[in-house]
């Protein structure tokens, strides 16, 4: 079941650096699933750190997360954890 949801990032989490790298890693390990983040009219595949950076989402910002193609629930849980700052 495809998932589409708006997520507010943790206060200390911005879409760059470590969180970005974690998302890229997640996307790489689940290459069949399409993971896309959107913000302000721009969209980015999670597999590209540059695209994620270019979304320009700072600490505590908001993104729309779209996941489709398999294992959506499990992957979304993981994405959520990263965006909320629960993964180091």
């Amino acid at each position: 079941m495809p998932i589409c949801c708006t997520v507010k990032l943790g206060d200390n989490v911005g879409l760059h650096g470590r969180p970005g790298a974690l998302l890229v890693d997640l996307a790489r390990r689940n290459s069949e699933t399409r993971i896309v983040l959107k913000n302000g009219g721009k969209e980015a595949i999670a597999a590209s750190l540059l695209a994620l950076l270019a979304l320009g989402v700072g600490k505590g910002g908001e993104v729309v997360v779209e996941i489709s193609g398999g294992k959506e629930e499990a992957i979304f849980d993981r994405v959520l954890a990263i965006l909320l700052g629960e993964v180091r």
């Binding site: 911005g14 650096g17 790298a21 890229v24 595949i45 270019a54």
Partner: protein, 589 residues
């Protein structure tokens, strides 16, 4: 002269100004002359994926270097920054863009510039300050890739003197490539507090001043200045004090500094030379080598040879993919540059704070007290044999048209904790030598790093040709203090340790076995004085320290130092600077 910039990183720094853009032509650098990939000149790189592979290897190596001091916050920040760059390098969209451009017939170099430009534009137009600053990482990475394409490999820049680096801007990896032992401060024309370079400087504790553009023209190359990172002040007014430690008994900075100016003429020739003390004792100066890049430095500073080649860093750096051929090339390179008799190769010293993923080391509660050094290596005989075999192969490769028996480099056994280990190593070597009939049996040395072996010198001396005192570990095990603990800095000054050293040196003299000291104490002024007073005449240290030490030792009179050291050995507690000064002054009169 007095200027005020914007405070960046607090702290006081004193040193000679070097302007970054003049780093290439200044005499201050001891640039690692070796291009890490000896046959790479960039021309054979045809595709983006080739470039990515090389760039990834470089970054991975830099990251591994940062892992030498585990758990240190500064190294961790440096690693994070480099990891992000590694991630960007492998970005699929960047790849698509560049490959597409290349397929249209554009050169790889231009395609790289284009691809990066696209993303730099996007990111620099963002609102978020922090993300916007990541453009610096893209610049850094782009520069690295363009350097690879033009055959320029980054090299470790050793510095000769204490330096305040003045630059318009500095990229993070440019900062990471500078010798932090000698970088005493940073003055940047621009720069922001959230830039990665400043964050790194903060992590490394390097006093930094930003916003210096109005007065940078007044900061002349070569001038000695003092910066205060707390209030942004830059001045050349200093109370006449030694800038190296702030208080000096034995020599003044100005004297050494002036000597340096006259010695800079010989920078291009390799003139290996030791030094004579003020009372004509001959002292040998050798260099510690961790990476091949520093080989150029070793030559620049005129070290008389390599007193310690820490081979484990080769393994740690290249990791799983370290092929025997690459290892052979590494040894061959050194043998070619310095000759076998001037190279001492230490067998792999892994374990403790240098775990190697490919070697299964059991999880221990006390790695420093567990499987490490030769103890570990002997548990993995295939790895030991591989290393020795590879060294011999390198010898054959370099000296293959010799008609007589070939002398191999000396081999040093790390962390010897029992005599039987020496026997085992020698037996292993003997067996391997049957396949190398043209090579003579190598000179074998033992690292004396544990008290038990210090007390067993008479037995050891019969089986080895030389000994090397590893002061870092000797102090660690002798004082039961973690070598990574900051208190280690002064732990060696405990008289008990000094007496232990005195005993080792005296025994070695009695047994007529050559002895050298490698270890951080040899790089400290007080350390050198004490060791000289105790009777050491051969030192191995990082190349960067050699020029200053050479000057320093030339001013020391051993006959004055010996009684000083004898006095100190009687102290109940660590000598303090003041006591040292007192005793010395009494002696002067």
């Amino acid at each position: 002269m007095r200027f005020n910039g914007i405070p960046g990183v607090p702290g006081i720094g004193v040193g000679e100004i070097i302007k970054y853009e003049l780093l290439d032509v200044t005499d201050h650098i001891i640039r690692g002359g070796h291009n890490r990939s000896y046959n790479h000149d960039g021309s054979y790189i045809n595709s983006w994926s080739d470039l990515v592979e090389l760039g990834s290897k470089e970054l991975a190596a830099l990251i591994e270097n940062m892992q030498e001091v585990q758990g240190s916050e500064s190294e961790k920040s440096a690693r994070d920054i480099l990891n992000v760059q590694l991630e960007i390098l492998n970005d699929p969209l960047l790849a698509d863009n560049i490959i597409e451009t290349v397929n249209k017939g554009v050169s790889l170099k231009e395609s790289v510039k284009n691809g990066f430009a696209v993303w730099k534009k996007q990111i620099s137009s963002l609102q978020d300050e922090y993300i916007k600053n990541r453009v610096q990482d893209l610049d850094d990475l782009e520069k690295r890739l363009l350097n690879i394409l033009s055959g320029k490999s980054p090299s470790f820049l050793g510095l000769r003197t204490h330096v305040i680096l003045v630059a318009n801007e500095l990229l993070p990896s440019e900062l990471l490539q500078l010798d932090r032992n000698f970088l005493k401060g940073l003055v940047l024309a621009y720069g922001s507090l959230t830039s990665h370079t400043v964050l790194l400087a903060k992590a490394f504790g390097i006093p930094t001043i930003l916003g210096a553009y109005p007065f940078i023209p007044h900061l002349e190359n070569g001038k000695i200045i003092k910066i205060n990172g707390e209030n942004g002040e830059i001045t050349d007014e200093m109370a006449g004090q030694d800038v190296v430690t702030g208080q000096n008994v034995f020599a003044s900075w100005d004297e050494i500094h002036n000597q340096h100016k006259t010695n800079r003429q010989n920078k291009n020739k390799y003139c290996p030379r030791g030094v004579e003390t003020a009372d004509d004792f001959k002292i040998k100066l050798l260099a510690n080598l961790d990476t091949l890049e520093e080989a150029g430095d070793v030559k620049r500073v005129g070290a008389q040879g390599i007193g310690l080649f820490r081979t484990e860093f080769l393994y740690l750096k290249y990791g799983k993919n370290f092929s025997q051929l690459e290892e052979e090339e590494a040894y061959a390179y050194l043998l070619q540059e310095f000759g076998a008799s001037k190279v001492i190769i230490r067998l792999l010293d892994l374990g403790s704070d240098k775990p190697w993923a490919d070697m299964s080391i059991p999880k221990e509660t006390n790695p420093a007290l567990g499987e490490r050094g030769i103890r570990l290596l002997l548990k993995h005989p295939s790895i030991l044999k591989r290393q020795i075999r590879t060294i011999f192969k390198a010898v054959i490769r370099v000296f293959n048209d010799s008609k007589k028996l070939i002398t191999p480099p000396s081999l040093l056994i790390p962390m010897v904790t029992s005599f039987s280990q020496i026997e085992e190593v020698k037996n292993t070597i003997s067996n391997i030598m049957q396949d190398f009939p043209l090579i003579k049996f190598p000179c074998i040395g033992a690292m004396i790093e544990v008290p038990a072996m210090a007390l067993s010198l008479p037995v050891i001396a019969k089986e080895v040709d030389f000994i090397s005192i590893g002061t870092n570990d000797l102090v660690q095990y002798g004082m039961a203090i973690d070598r990574l603990n900051p208190e280690m800095q002064t732990a060696w000054q405990e008289p008990g340790i000094l007496r232990l050293l005195a005993m080792i040196i005296k025994e070695a003299k009695r047994l007529r076995i050559p002895l050298s000291v490698c270890g951080e104490i040899a790089g400290l002024k007080e350390g050198i004085v004490l060791l000289l007073g105790l009777g050491v005449r051969s030192f191995s240290m990082i190349p960067g320290s050699i020029p200053v030490m050479r000057e320093y030792i030339s001013k020391i009179e051993i006959r004055k130092v010996v009684p000083l050291v004898n006095e100190i050995l009687k102290f109940p507690n660590k000598f303090s600077k003041k006591e040292l000064v007192d005793v010395f002054c009494r002696m002067k009169d």
